[in-house]
Structure formats: C-alpha cells, structure tokens
Amino acid sequence: MTGFLTLLYKELLRFWKVGFQTVFAPMVSTLLYLMIFSHVLEAQVEAFPGVAYTAFLIPGLVMMAVLQNAFANSSSSLIQSKITGNLVFVLLSPLSYREIFFAYVLASVVRGLAVGLGVYLVTVGFFDVAVASFPWVFLFAFMGSALLGAIGIIAGIWADKFDQLAAFQNFVILPLTFLSGVFYSLHSLPPFWQQLSHLNPFFYMIDGFRYGFFNASDISPYISLGIVVVCFVAVSWVTLRMLKSGYKIRH
C-alpha cells in the first residue's frame, strides 16, 4: 500500500507544484468560454424548459474542464517521464502494474475534481446555479475523470513524442468533448446528429453530470452511468493489459 500511496502522492505533488498552470490556467480558460458563450447565446436558446442557457452551460463547462484536466494529468505526466527518462524510477521499483494504474488514475481524478470545483465555485459568484443532487454530480465527475485518466495513461504510453500526444488531444479528446453536448442540448440537433452523438461516450458523462444540477437530462442518468462504467471497465482493461505487457515502456 505504501508504494501505491507514494506514487499517488508524487503525482499529486507534481501537478500541485505547478498549480498555476495545471489548476488555475484551465479555470481561467473555462471562465472565458462561459463569459463569451453566455453573452452571445443567452437570449436565444432555452435548452431545457425553464433553464436559462447560462445555467445550462455551466455544468457542461465544469464537466468539460474536469474531463480535459483528468486526461491532461496522466498523459502529460507519463510522456514527460518517458521522454526525460525518469519513468525508470517507477519501473525499477517493486510497484505492480495495478498500483501504477490506480495511482495515475486517482491523481487524474483529483486534478479533474480540483479544476472542476474551482470553476464551479467561481461561477457561483456570478450566476445562480444550484446543485439538485450532489451524489449524481460527484458520481459522474468521479467516473468521468477516472475514465479520462485511464485514457490519458494509454495516450501517454502510446505517444513517443509530445506532438503525437497533442494530436491525440486535438483530434480525439477535443472533438469528442465539444460534440458531446457541452454547449447545446442534443434535442436541438437534427435526428441524424442526435443518433451520432449517442455513440459518443462523452455525451453520457456530460448529460449525467448535468442531471445532477437540474434533475433534467436528455436521457436517464442510470443509463448514462451504466455506459460510463462500461467504458471505464473496458478502457481500464486495455490500460492494464498495456501496463502488464510493458508495451512501449519495458522493451
């Protein structure tokens, strides 16, 4: 247990030491999105009956920040350690591949939740957004960041260079988050795009998270949670296999 806790502590200390960049900066950029989109779209759209657009947007942006930062934490930590070579200290130690997996995932969860909480607390100062069900909010934030933390491990191990990781982020993670209903309700889309969006696992994370705020969502939060859990199990299985086989890290 000590080995696992130490790796977790090291991962937390790593992002905390550069907290300005890893926690504060994403908070600022998320708040910029909020200011701009709420200004432009407030008058025009009402996503759910009786829910103003800005109120609708906030949970989406909070969750987007949670997911992106969870991904960034494990992926950037791993690729930095790989490229600078200091991953060797973890690889030389008796840590098991499971301990490595859970330490990186949990550190990603903490970073995701820290940024998400930060964004939420600041927006509460300007807008009126109440949480209807804290357990749902927490459950989706936790599972979503765990899933993205695990995907981050895969990306960090797979990428040999920073630009490959950037490509993964820009061509996979970013489109999936932007097209998942952060900025709009799926019901506002034409049927074809609605169907397509249902194939995007990020949609269920955002939709379920939003349910925790409004008790209203595009689909049932139980279904969303089920899908997120299945995705997490599947991605974790792949990640654990990669770590166990030493793919790209033990040659």
Binding site: T2, G3, L5, T6, L7, Y9, K10, L13, R14, K17, V18, S81, T84, G85, N86, V88, F89, V90, L91, L92, S93, P94, L95, S96, G246, R250, H251
Partner: protein, 309 residues
Amino acid sequence: MALAIEVKRLRKSFGALHALCGVDLEIEAGEFFALLGPNGAGKTTLINIIAGLTLATSGSVSVMGHDVVLDYRQARRMLGVVPQELVYDPFFTVRETLTIQSGYYGLKNNEAWIEEILHQLDLVNKADANMRALSGGMKRRVLVAQSLVHKPPVIVLDEPTAGVDVELRQGLWRFIRQLNRDGHTIVLTTHYLDEAEALCNRVAMLKQGHIVALDSIRNLISSVSTCSVRLRLSPDILPAVLQPLMSEREEGFHILTLNGYSQIEDVLAALREEKTCILEMEILQPDLEEVFVTITGSAGVTRAAAFAS
C-alpha cells in the same frame, strides 16, 4: 554460497538484431564484478533485463534467488540500479526524490538512512535544492543515492563514472568499496579498464551478445601469455635474430613482445652473442586493457569456448 545474480541461457533480440545470444552468468553474493565490452556488446541490455526494464526473448534471470519476471517484486527489492543516463525528475528536490523513491519500495520513515546516504555522498548541502539546479556530477550522486534507499543486497551500476570528474570518481569508488565490504554485491559496467582492474574480483567480457571471457582478473591477465621488454642498447642496434620480435621503436628504446617470461633468456643470449650491452631494461606486464583488446579483438568468439570452460 547464495548467488546474487543468476543468468541462464539468456537471449534478447530487437527485431533482426541479436543483442544477447545465450548468456550464462553466475555472480556470487559479496562479489565485486565488472561487465566489460565495447559499445553495443550487450552490457546495458543485460543490466536492463536483470532490472526488469527489458523483457528477455528467452532464458531466465534471478536476483538473490528471485526470478525477475515471476517474482519481480522480491527481485526488485533485492536490487539497486544506477542507470547510465543522467535522469531526474525536475519537479522535486533531492530529499523529496529520495523520500519518494523509498516509498516506492514500501519504506516509510526512512529519514535516518536517507540522511546517512546524503552524508556519505556529500549531498547534505544540496538536500533541499531542486534537481534541476544540480550539476551533472551531483545528479550522478543522487542517482547512486536513489539506488540505495532500500539497502539492496545487490547494486548494479551502469557506467557510473562516465563523464564524472576525478575527485567525484574517487569519492564514489571509496563509497562503493565500503558498500562491498559491508556485504553488498556490486556489479558494474565501465569503459575505464583501470577501474575494473583496481576494484573488481572478477570480470565478464561481452562481445556482440556473447560472453567471451569470464574469470578473475589475475587469471585473465596470466592467460594472455605475452609480455614485453623495453631495452636501451649500446650500440643501439638490435641483433638480426631479434628483429622479428620487435613490436615498437621508441626514442632510443626497442620494445620486444615475447611469448612468455622464459623467452627473456633467449633475448639475453642473443644480445650476449652480438656483444651488445644492455643500458636499461624494463619488463612490461600485460594489463587488463591488453587482455581486453586481445579477447574482444581478433580472437573473438572462437576463444570464448576456452575461457568459458
């Protein structure tokens, strides 16, 4: 005696490249052992497999009786490795680095031993400096310190003195010798043959993935039966019968390579015959470097059988 490291029929291929071609090696507990060989001979690959950083294609390795794959947790607890590259985590200070490294091995409250290592490696002043702020030599010391946090019975150093200044090198060796006296098994790779000669009991020479020599340094040196004599003569003319033996001509000196000490008698007889006086004479013994060149040079793998037996 227990084996610190046991390597059996170890093979490793990277695609078409055969880095290790069936290596067998036994290193006993308490030895000070050197792995020598030219660049690309497979030294680092062998060390990486022992450390679990590289997976073997076939064969097995165990450290203190623990298989490095099947029982990797125990095997890694027994092993401290100083990597060849100067790697460090730029986020942390020296003390944090060592505390974290201890934690990876399941050690809490390791402060007393960390303090001791810092002191031994002369890092006390730098304990709270960030790793980025350290010079290359200091980073090397931290790497050594990191390999020791869990007091491993077997310590492997992959070219620990490459690019390190003389003072640090001597300090480092003093400390490692001390560890060896305290019962730690030391395995090192080095390019400095004089270091291996001064420190180690036994050496293995690797060439193209094969062990071409494995013996004590004394035996290896005596196995190379040649020695040389350096002569200053009056008159300064080498008798014709001795010309074939001449290997080098220095200012006023003739250097002859002999097949053994017994040949010295023949040289002296030939000189007496020609009424040549010996003004100066020096017998040059072969050193590890010559053994190394002889074995890893032309002789290569064909000699391996003789040495390995």
